[in-house]
């Protein structure tokens, strides 16, 4: 025993969370930095859209189909709204909705997946087979069908996409949780008399978090693309709300006249998808313990 016990002792933490993050950032590769900066820029656009955008979201500022000019840097759309402003507001809507949808799908899919892994038996079988049935139907077609049934509004869109996406999250979280529930530390917690909440959120979830966070990044991209696709098809985010998918749809015919209008929102979608993937790749690499080249 090295130290004598004094009546009052303060036990200090060794390394703070901030320090850990700083250490990790130091070793981040260029691609990850690129991804993080892009995501940060998008986030700034989304949060401060009203301050950044030169005009209002659905404000008509001039003639339709204008080319780039000092007043409208990226030109105007079919009814004369500023394309740049709509792109900036679009970030807010598209990313915000995709984020809410993904979070919801992880909440549903993740908790059901861990629960199924922990309880096994009939509960697991029941949920798994329902999920299998859902997975048999292509997402886009299923989403179109459901939207036709319940009506196309924002809340319905979010709920339907979240539910459909939750099936995939369920499969992953169940699979990774299965590896964790057989561990002695889970048995040890059960022997201690811990409740379900503690076992799920304190024993299992921290151990399956890395693959889930990675999956979160990827699923976010998919949801984002699905929303864009639905908007393109006219059942997603409804006008006059600015949204990249519908912006592509509205200006798509211009491409045949050699006009770049549909490329701006498309590029915004592509860039964010790539950036998120870069960051996810880095995170996956860090948490999987893979070491390159050695």
């Amino acid at each position: 025993m090295n130290t004598a016990t004094t009546p009052v002792r303060t036990i200090k933490a060794r390394r703070s969370v901030i320090e850990n993050i700083r250490r990790n950032l130091k070793t981040a590769p260029l691609t990850a930095w690129f991804g993080m900066i892009v995501i940060l820029l998008y986030a700034i656009c989304a949060v401060f859209a009203p301050l950044l955008a030169p005009y209002g979201e659905s404000e008509i500022v001039g003639k339709a189909y204008q080319l780039s000019s000092p007043e409208n840097w990226l030109g105007t759309d079919q009814i004369g709204r500023d394309t740049l402003s709509r792109l900036i507001f679009g970030a807010r809507n598209t990313i915000g909705i995709a984020l809410i949808t993904t979070l919801l799908s992880f909440l549903i899919g993740g908790s059901l997946g861990v629960l199924a892994a922990l309880k096994r038996g009939i509960l697991d079988q029941g949920i798994s087979r329902v999920v299998d049935a859902f997975l048999a139907i292509p997402v886009l077609i299923f989403a179109l069908m459901m939207l036709a049934v319940v009506g196309k509004n924002l809340i319905n869109l979010i709920i339907i996409l979240a539910l459909l996406d939750a099936t995939r999250v369920f499969r992953l979280s169940r699979a990774v949780a299965l590896n964790s529930v057989v561990m002695d530390y889970v048995e040890s917690a059960r022997l201690r008399g811990e409740g379900m909440g503690w076992i799920v959120f304190r024993e299992i979830v921290p151990n399956i978090l890395p693959p889930l966070i990675t999956e979160f990044g990827l699923r976010f991209c998919f949801v984002f693309l699905t929303i864009s696709a639905l908007s393109f098809l006219g059942v997603g985010i409804q006008p006059p709300t600015a949204d990249w998918g519908s912006m592509v749809a509205e200006s798509k015919s211009l491409i045949s006249f050699g006009r770049p209008a549909p490329l701006y929102p498309a590029a915004a979608i592509a860039l964010l998808t790539i950036a998120v993937n870069f960051v996810v790749d880095w995170f996956l690499h860090k948490t999987s313990g893979l070491r390159d080249g050695h």
Partner: protein, 547 residues
């Protein structure tokens, strides 16, 4: 025989000089092997011994000219039969592997492909290297099976790996390694995963076949008594350095280095037996089964006195871990009763109240899986304090530090994750977690089996000290007789779900023995190079008499 060169016994086969190997971790190269010389003559068996992390496996693999991923050979030379393995191309080395240098790994079950017949895998190397035709190789494999004393040598190869026992599979892997009659064979802890009773057969078979073909061998193990049976010469390694090298007999007789002597000392740990009639836990006529058909526990009666240690011994499948599950309530007994402090214990976990749960704690074999890798020591030890005793915040942390000190660690460990500690330290944390609940009984399930001998001794003496201090009872499940000798007051011998014998240590460990206890006790390797030979002679004599 496949090599054109004639094998001359006594000629130098392997010559390693000044070998240095680095391993990559935390973004830097750290030396694992720090300049080791090793020579091996044809027909000679060299034992490599040391704790985990000593570099013995790395050195063994280097003898094949192979560095594991994440390792690099940074200096020295490896000459195998006149060929420089470091300078050799990947193809040249690959041609040697399997045909002239073979490797037998620790876990046969993990090394065999479960989807193919054993014989197909045994002959694969010989056929792939175009050494023999398939028919010839299969006939040869059957011959090897026979030499390795496998039952039904003509048909056993047609089985799948899961259809034979662990000991048989380990021998089948030796047959695989021998199929090309290699010049050098490397055994990497081949019997570590086996029960003592099976270990004897496997050791005898391996020793025999290596002798028959004059194969040179490197035998890697952490068990001195085992290496004493197998090797002509022993090298003791520590931290990548050579500590001592001598012939087996010379080293056993008079080790020159302090470290080597400390390896010897472990087996001498012994606690005086003390008997008590104050029974804390009584398991009475308990049956238990997993699916209903086969009884894993069959009419088991065991008593655990307060403040004493009861060791439960037996080989794998004897039901000793199931006994722990029955006591903890994870597997409710199908018949019989368990009494705790004279009162019947509720059968299932769900029926037991918090205070009952607190009084019975458990320590697992592998601290790697028993400690949540994402929780810090503060939370691992702190949780039972908070959960059972309602300690919070600074009070809780202070108690955690007290517990850390009682297991001979200190405050600086409080923010560590399990991954940042050594195996022995992790096992100490498991012990502290159990102690935090202030239990009356701790079930220790093979708690030292995964540890090195020196660490084992430290953990065992820590457990003994803690028992003296807190008067806790241990139900100590193990397959290792040396451990049993070291810490038990009473011994329960289990075999196939039944209690074969129960009584005070002195009584169980002295004759007359029931048949199974005798088999178990006689199978424990001793530090005598003639032990295995003597044992085999005794057993075959007995077999003749009874036949």
């Amino acid at each position: 025989m496949v090599t054109d060169k004639k094998r001359v016994k006594g000629e130098t086969l392997l010559d390693i000089k000044g070998l240095k190997i680095d391993g990559y971790s935390d973004d830097v190269w750290n030396p694992i092997i720090k300049g080791i010389d090793l020579t091996l003559k044809r027909g000679e068996v060299l034992g490599l011994i040391g704790e985990s992390g000593a570099g013995k496996s790395t050195l063994g693999l280097a003898a094949m000219g192979f560095a594991r991923p994440g390792c690099r050979i940074s200096g020295g030379s490896i000459m195998f039969d006149g060929m420089d393995l470091i300078a050799a191309s990947e193809e040249q080395r690959r041609a040697l592997w399997g045909s002239r240098i073979a490797y037998v790994a620790q876990s046969a079950a993990a090394s065999f492909n479960p989807a193919h017949h054993i014989i197909d895998q045994t002959v694969e190397t010989a056929v792939a290297h175009n050494i023999m035709t398939r028919e010839k190789a299969e006939a040869d494999a059957r011959d090897l099976y026979k030499r390795l004393q496998l039952p039904n040598p003509n048909t056993i190869g047609d089985r799948f790996p899961h259809q034979v026992s662990g000991g048989q599979l380990q021998r089948a892997m030796t047959a695989m390694a021998m199929s090309c009659r290699p010049d050098l064979i490397i055994f990497d802890e081949p019997t570590t995963a086996l029960d003592v009773t099976t270990q004897v057969e496997v050791l005898a078979a391996m020793r025999d076949i290596v002798e028959q073909f004059d194969t040179a061998a490197i035998y890697i193990t952490h068990d001195l008594a085992v290496v004493a049976q197998m090797a002509h010469r022993i090298m003791v390694l520590r931290y990548g350095n050579l500590v001592e090298e001598a012939t087996t007999r010379a080293m056993l007789k008079s080790p020159t280095q302090e470290y080597t002597r400390s390896l010897w000392a472990v087996r001498k740990l012994q606690k005086p037996e003390s008997i008590s009639d104050d029974i804390a836990l009584r398991i009475h006529n308990v049956d238990a089964s997993y699916s209903g058909a086969i009884k894993v526990l069959d009419n088991v009666t065991v008593q655990v006195p307060r403040g004493r240690t009861v060791a439960v011994v037996g080989e794998s499948g004897s039901g000793k871990s199931t006994l722990a599950r029955a006591i903890t309530g994870l597997l409710p007994p199908s018949r019989g009763e368990i009494y705790f402090n004279g009162k019947p214990l509720p059968r299932t976990l769900a029926e037991r109240d918090k205070d009952t749960l607190r009084r019975i704690q458990m320590i697992y074999q592998s601290a790697d899986t028993a400690l949540n890798p994402r929780q810090k020591v503060r939370d691992i030890i702190g949780r039972p304090l908070e959960f059972y005793l309602g300690l919070k915040g600074a009070d809780r942390d202070r108690r955690v530090v007290e517990l850390l000190e009682s297991i001979e660690l200190n405050e600086s460990y409080i923010d560590r994750l399990p991954g940042e500690m050594s195996g022995g330290q992790k096992q100490r944390i498991s012990i502290a977690r159990a102690l935090a609940a202030e239990p009356e009984i701790i079930i220790c399930d093979e708690v030292t089996s995964a540890l090195d001998q020196i660490v084992q001794e430290e953990i065992l003496s820590l457990l003994m000290r803690l028992q003296k201090k807190t008067n806790v009872s241990y139900l100590f499940i193990t397959h290792d007789i040396a451990t049993v000798r070291a810490i038990s007051d009473e011994i329960v011998v289990m075999h196939q779900g039944k209690v074969v014998q129960q009584g005070p240590k002195s009584q169980v460990l002295s004759p007359p023995f029931p048949a199974y206890t005798e088999l178990l006790l006689s199978s424990v390797p001793e530090m005598d190079p003639d032990w295995l030979t003597g044992l085999l002679a005794k057993r075959s004599k007995k077999a003749k008499v009874s036949a």
